[in-house]
Symmetry: C3
Subunit: 138 residues, 3 copies
């Protein structure tokens, strides 16, 4: 989709398979591999769904993401007399809490993430195959 | 506000009237109409207020947004002995939970939204006339 | 880090000292000073940590930020039998609730913030010295 002869805005569709209803799936390496060749600027990640989201958090101790998912469940329980009848209202609510997109700076060809930061697809209504749009922003 | 002869960064002010204290007002069509003529890149939406926000979620079943607003009210009740004396502390808190801005990719002149995604102004202290800044990012 | 002779993407590292475990530290002036000379476009702020975040909210009455921090504590208590054993799981969770980055339009050299909006580093595990990456986006 790049405009006339420019690489200013190039878009990739990244597919991510999740394995559980609620899951924090790390996608840092997948993203890093996709931006190969891009030097300086930013990437935008955009989750095109309404029951999952994206976040950045610690990827050293896996207990951190477990604690985050459990806390989201306490704040927004799966079982509640919601109006929406598909049984996934909690998933929609959690998606809006965490947000659908991320912008990350790219510096000398590398994601400018902090030492402990990893990128996560936050699955709240899996398992499914999810799509995230990755695009470049100068 | 575009710089010297370029359309790289053009800003629009979008006005949105809300009708209730708490309301998820869909603005997808209004945004789509505003970007007419823009081909590839991203739009940035920025809510210049402190008691409303922006989110993306399902626009098929209106019960989804009702469930989201109700869940926000359970997490952050309107009635609580807050310090801020204007009676809208819950609105400020909810605004920071949902966030003030969105970036959405534009592909071949169309918002690259998923099938079920709509853009919502999340009014937490209406009814008011709200302003959202829309700008273009290559 | 700007690319070949262009100012399209220039990155600054901003250091912010926090003084308490939980604190909303306003950084609006610091950001405004850093962008001096930049005319039109956007800035991206990116917090490279996993136990603090960034948000925009009211900077007129300091009680607003106190209410926000207290509400986050009620939603995500510091004391809870979390799995992560470092005693800061609540900090990680709150960081993902508020988010790690902001994009703010710049118009005629000024942050296009609303009348009541201030930019805050949300410290959830201080006191520490924090780093925020500021970069420019046309």
């Amino acid at each position: 989709m790049a405009g006339s002869g420019t690489l200013k805005c190039l878009m990739h569709e990244i597919r991510i398979k999740t394995g559980q209803r609620i899951e924090a799936k790390e996608i840092t390496r997948q993203i890093a591999n996709t931006i190969s060749g891009y030097r300086n600027g930013h990437i935008h990640l955009f989750c095109i769904h309404t029951t999952c989201g994206l976040t950045i958090n610690e990827n050293a101790d896996p207990d951190v993401m477990k604690d985050i998912l459990a806390a989201f469940d306490r704040m927004v329980p799966a079982n509640y007399p919601y109006l929406h009848s598909e049984g996934n209202s909690d998933s929609h609510i959690k998606a809006s809490l965490v947000g659908h997109s991320l912008i990350i700076p790219v510096l000398d060809g590398k994601l400018a993430l902090g030492m402990w930061q990893g990128i996560y697809l936050m699955e709240f209504d899996g398992p499914r195959e999810r799509k995230v749009l990755l695009s470049f922003i100068k």
